[in-house]
Amino acid sequence: MSSRIDPRTRRATKPGGSNSSGGMVTFLVLMTPAALFALPTTLLAVVGLIPTAVAYLVDRDPDKLAPITVGALNICGILPFVMGMWKHGHTMSESLRLLGDPFTWLVIYGAAALGWGFYFLVPPMIANFEIMRAESRIMALHEAKRELVVEWGPEVAFDDEELARKNKPPESKS
């Protein structure tokens, strides 16, 4: 936790924007033949993953936690239809049929909405939980400090200068 960096700072300092676009090009080059080969699946995926794409575009965080959160559930929404198509006939007509079915849209975009729900609702809950835990830890640390003072005296809280001043013996006449 202590090594965490403020996302706003990270955003400002994230290097290699050109590398990121280069990686995307490589990805597209590799994926394009596969996408053309499985065109019905590609069609369903492209349409179904629009919420994830939106999340990717709107999330300014270089870690891209919004597309991960939304995308994981978004994919879960698409996957039953893709697998059903693969099992019953991997054709463009089947793909179009599915896209024409409102239930498909409901499931896919519902799952994506759940992802957005996670993205917006879980972090405040986690923050509250961490604040409660920190407050509890502060109380425990105060108690530990008090016990140290009881056992070792107020000098235990002195800095080096104060301690040296207190321990300084009176001026010797001899």
């Binding site: 965490r4 697998m83 986690i126 509250n128 502060i138 640390l141 000098e155 006449k173």
Partner: protein, 678 residues
């Protein structure tokens, strides 16, 4: 003193019941014997508890006069009918104070003279020869053999041995320093010029001088110079010589003329000793020559309105009138008188040299003037005592004079200055005759000066006091009433003093430290350095316990719970040295427990435990680190609490992503399983 140590708590307080001195004698406070009172104390009847049938009495010393402790053991060994026998001595509790008691055998006859002014029937010549001189010879021989002097031979300190008049017994001399109670009449000129406490030990020749004066009293049945006071007697002795002053105008029996003249010779080298007296008793007739009188000047010199005709008189008047003397010395009157009046250029040169030496060493002008008067006085009259700022002491009497000054709470400063300005050394160097005893005297005063000039707790004038009086009891106000002479006595006294309601804050002062440094030479000087008032209390207490613990262990002393508790009450700074509070509490309990046991060395072990101190220091360092770490963590947590958005943006979002990914993974796995194996 071992018996005194064991008797410190003997006897009872101011009750009128008999008070025991050990298990040997019983003193009867209800039966005072004023006839035996002395200058140092009062007499009471006493009785022996074991065997002895002879009557005895006790002299209870007031403590105002320095006792002659070092000679007491020697006097108890003298068993001679010619001297009052000292039977025992020790400490008793007397009217709620500790007092030294001397037990003497009580003479059966009366005191020869109740006072020096009283008259009595002159003693026939043959009786003086037979009953006095012959019976006193063994006394003088025994004293001389034991290296003791009586210092109190005079008619009013002599007793008839029995009511039938069978000889004389000389009274006690153990309660005062030699010559302390002697009028100037019974002392030679030099000792008579010294103050009573500063006359020094003297020698058997001084006792024989007093005996010569006593013979004159016995022969005449009266005081031959009754109308003169001490100062006048001394002046006449200086002017005319002792014999002429005391016996010159009296009819001394022909047979006694020789011994009287011989014993009253002012020059100690010429004075009759035991050999001459023995020869005279055996029938040899000697013709003692009278000592030459001091060289008389052709004209007098005036000091403070007094005309003086010779050097000795001048030295004496200078001491009596130091201001006038300073003027006369500085304006050259003395030099002119010495060169023209007395025609002694050598003396004039010596005086000039003494004046120059006096200015060395600096100091205030008044101090230089006092030194100059003292040095010039010594130069003019070398055998005379050192006279400085109203004090007049022989070098070997300086210790007793210092003790008396402390006992009477009078100024000790002039005596300390005498040593600091090396007046005894000057006295020794100007003596006209070489005397072997002057060599150790010079060495000892050189050492004493060094001790005086050091400023530590065990040095200064108190240390000089105990160095010069090796048998003097400790004069610290804390234990003065207990008359402690040895380190074990001192610890026993402190143990008893600890119970006093008005005891001092701590069982140590300059007297105690000087006393212990003198009497317990095995202790390191550095320990006494730690006792100085400005030293860290922890180091002071450690040094105190080291000193007392060493004495208790080395001398195999019994437990000292009073003293231990006293020191224990001062040990809080040593406890406070531990940071660990439980350890402090444990140390306090241990101190309380060990203090009750009375073993001082165990108290020292509690505070002088390097392992415990190291462990405490290490634990304290670790605790400080832990405390600092806790403060830093609290600050970090507070900063975190103050920024909930940061938590949301970081760990909150991450957690949501992880949660979403886990759910996604599980659902994916479930769907794969469903479609593949359905």
């Amino acid at each position: 003193m071992a018996n005194e140590a064991s008797n410190i708590d003997a006897g009872r307080d101011g009750s009128r019941e008999p008070i025991k001195l050990g298990d040997r004698f019983e003193i009867l406070p209800t039966q005072p014997l004023p006839a035996f009172d002395g200058i140092a104390g009062t007499a009471y009847a006493a009785r022996a508890l074991r065997g002895r049938k002879a009557e005895c009495f006790a002299l209870i010393l007031s403590g105002a006069v320095p006792p002659r402790t070092e000679a007491l053991a020697g006097f108890t060994l003298i068993d001679n009918p010619g001297i009052m026998r000292l039977l025992d001595h020790g400490m008793v509790e007397w009217a709620q104070n500790h007092r030294q008691a001397l037990i003497f055998e009580r003479p059966l006859g009366r005191r020869l003279m109740t006072s020096l002014a009283a008259g009595f029937e002159p003693m026939p010549e043959d009786q003086i020869m037979r009953l006095v001189i012959q019976s006193m010879m063994p006394v003088f021989k025994e004293l001389s053999g034991r290296g003791l002097t009586h210092g109190g031979i005079r008619p009013n300190n002599m007793f008839l041995r029995d009511s039938g008049g069978g000889g004389l017994t000389v009274g006690e001399c153990a309660s005062t320093p030699p010559g302390y109670a002697q009028p100037a009449l019974f002392e030679g000129i030099e000792r008579a010029m010294a103050q009573p406490s500063g006359r020094g030990n003297g020698s058997i020749l001084d006792d024989l001088y007093a005996f010569g004066v006593t013979l004159v009293f016995l022969a005449l049945g009266r005081n031959p110079v009754q109308e003169m006071d001490d100062e006048t007697v001394l002046s006449v002795k200086i002017e005319r010589g002792s014999y002429a002053a005391i016996a010159g105008s009296s009819r001394i029996p022909q047979n006694l003329l020789e011994p009287v003249r011989g014993l009253l010779l002012d020059d100690p080298k010429q004075r009759w000793g035991l050999t001459q007296l023995d020869l005279w008793l055996s029938g040899r007739r000697l013709s003692p020559k009278l000592s030459p009188l001091p060289k008389r000047a052709s004209r007098p010199v005036k000091i403070g309105g007094h005309e003086v005709w010779h050097c000795r008189g001048l030295a004496r008047q200078m001491a009596l009138n130091p201001t006038a003397a300073t003027i006369s010395v500085e304006n050259g009157d003395i030099d002119r008188w010495l060169r023209r009046g007395i025609s002694d250029d050598v003396m004039a040169e010596a005086v000039a040299s003494a004046m120059e030496n006096a200015a060395l060493g600096g100091g205030k002008s008044s101090s230089v003037a006092d030194r100059m008067v003292a040095r010039v006085g010594m130069t003019l009259d070398p055998p005379a005592p050192i006279r400085y700022k109203g004090m007049a002491v022989m070098p070997d009497g300086l210790g007793v004079a210092l003790a008396e000054a402390f006992l009477r709470r009078e100024g000790v400063q002039p005596l300390a200055e005498m040593i600091a300005w090396q007046l005894p050394l000057f006295w020794a160097t100007i003596q006209t005759e070489t005397r072997p005893e002057l060599v150790p005297l010079v060495q000892s005063f050189d050492t004493l000066r060094g001790l005086l000039e050091k400023t530590g707790a065990a040095f200064g004038v108190e240390r000089v006091l105990y160095e010069m009086n090796p048998s003097l009891y400790c004069l610290s106000p804390i234990v003065i009433d207990y008359h402690a002479v040895t380190p074990p006595d001192l610890l026993l006294a402190l143990d008893l003093a600890a119970e006093a309601k008005d005891r001092s804050r701590e069982p140590m002062d300059r007297h105690l430290s000087a006393f212990l440094a003198n009497r317990h030479k095995r202790l390191e000087d550095s320990l006494f350095t730690q006792l100085a008032s400005g030293v860290d209390p922890l180091r002071r207490i450690t040094a105190l316990l080291s000193i007392f613990g060493d004495i208790q262990t080395r001398f195999g002393m019994p437990p000292l719970p009073g003293l231990s508790r006293w020191i224990g009450s001062l040990m809080e700074p040593t406890v406070a040295r531990f940071y660990n509070r439980p350890q402090r509490d444990a140390a306090r309990k241990a101190i309380e427990r060990v203090a009750s046991d009375g073993k001082l060395i165990d108290l020292l072990r509690i505070i002088d435990d390097p392992d415990a101190i190291k462990k405490d220091a290490l634990g304290f360092s670790a605790a400080r680190r832990e405390h600092k770490k806790a403060i830093q963590e609290i600050e970090k947590l507070k900063a975190k609490i103050a920024d909930p958005t940061g938590i949301i943006e970081t760990s909150g979002r991450q957690f949501a992503a992880v949660l979403s990914s886990v759910i996604g993974t599980l659902v994916t796995a479930g769907l794969c399983f469903f479609y593949l194996f359905r």
